[in-house]
Assembly symmetry: C2
């Protein structure tokens, strides 16, 4: 095994360091966050920091870096109170990745990435038509991480849209059947192959 | 598309609801968190809520439910100040899943799951020998999510252990080459197949 510690981390070249620590946390959800501002300009940004926070009430967390590329996302969430999470299908992962480019405020990433916005009557944030699994959220609370200034944003799920064939009888949503991809590091996209669904774990089971 | 909103969520049967909302956030890192208490009892618990928080300093987040099964993990992190994240290889995902069973405090999940603890000279928390990618962390800060009482725990990476063949020249760690699995929902395990690593996104690129 290669064993590194703090002194080794400090001598890493910047890009190497970014790739390394973004890989370390394993496979991540590959999602597009859809928002809109008060002037009705839409924004779409790729995020790999979506995390389950709870099922009752249904809560989802998101790590935002207010000073980096997708800052419009955080500003729009705070200003409007709503946002969408749209899972990335293998047919448009390259378009989704392209939303990370530094466009000016006037350019919507929907147009730049050739993806289609769609709206619900429940909230103003745009969904991605092409996504097979979409979540509408209302902002609930935020926590600033003192150690680096990132913000942990928590939202409550107020709407879900999914393909009928992906829903199992027990509530499980089959991401693989839906063609949803996963991301590792900053830029590596993967499809999946199921090993198994395992039964509820019991001692000596 | 199946479209559901709050009223639909409230009528869901408990297990259905848990499966559904645990699936919604997409693919997740499948990890074992290793801890120890002051009496030197080790604990090992499966978590799918690890998230990247930053690369400089290297920070990792973890959603803990203090009142659910892996509560020893949170108690041990707070008491000792250190913990490990061990990625799950496809050869032991069933053993890893088994750590979720409700063992009494006297039983170490290392023994119950037939996995092997190993130690570093940098901190007291146990690693999993069988894991191809291991991270040692020091507790930094915590944030209680008011909406449901879960805790967002942030730690700083102080040590990493990885297989030489998995490290690319640019710092990217190849999880797929390492045989690391991803999890969806509460109980579905997957291997991956790479689609592509994409170049840094630029406008009109």
């Amino acid at each position: 095994m290669i064993r590194w510690h703090r002194d080794d981390f400090e001598t890493m070249e910047k890009r190497f360091r970014t790739n390394f620590f973004n890989s370390l946390t394993g496979y991540k959800a590959a999602t597009l966050i859809g928002t809109i501002n008060a002037a009705e300009q839409t924004n779409l940004a790729i995020f790999s920091s979506v995390v389950h926070v709870g099922a009752n009430p249904p809560l989802v967390g998101l790590v935002c870096r207010p000073t980096s590329v997708p800052r419009h996302t955080y500003q729009n969430i705070k200003a409007m109170g709503y946002y969408t999470i749209n899972h990335i299908h293998h047919t448009f992962f390259e378009q989704a990745h392209h939303t990370a480019a530094r466009y000016s405020a006037e350019v919507s990433e929907f147009e730049a990435a050739q993806l289609t916005p769609d709206y619900s009557d429940l909230h103003p944030a745009p969904y991605v038509v092409e996504s097979p699994l979409k979540i509408g959220l209302q902002f609930v609370e935020e926590h600033e991480i003192a150690a680096n200034g990132t913000i942990f944003v928590v939202g409550q799920v107020i709407e879900t849209l999914l393909k009928p064939g992906s829903l199992c009888h027990d509530g499980f949503v089959d991401l693989e059947q839906s063609g949803i991809v996963t991301i590792s590091g900053l830029d590596s996209y993967h499809r999946t192959e199921t090993l198994a669904r395992l039964p509820y774990a019991k001692p000596n089971g």
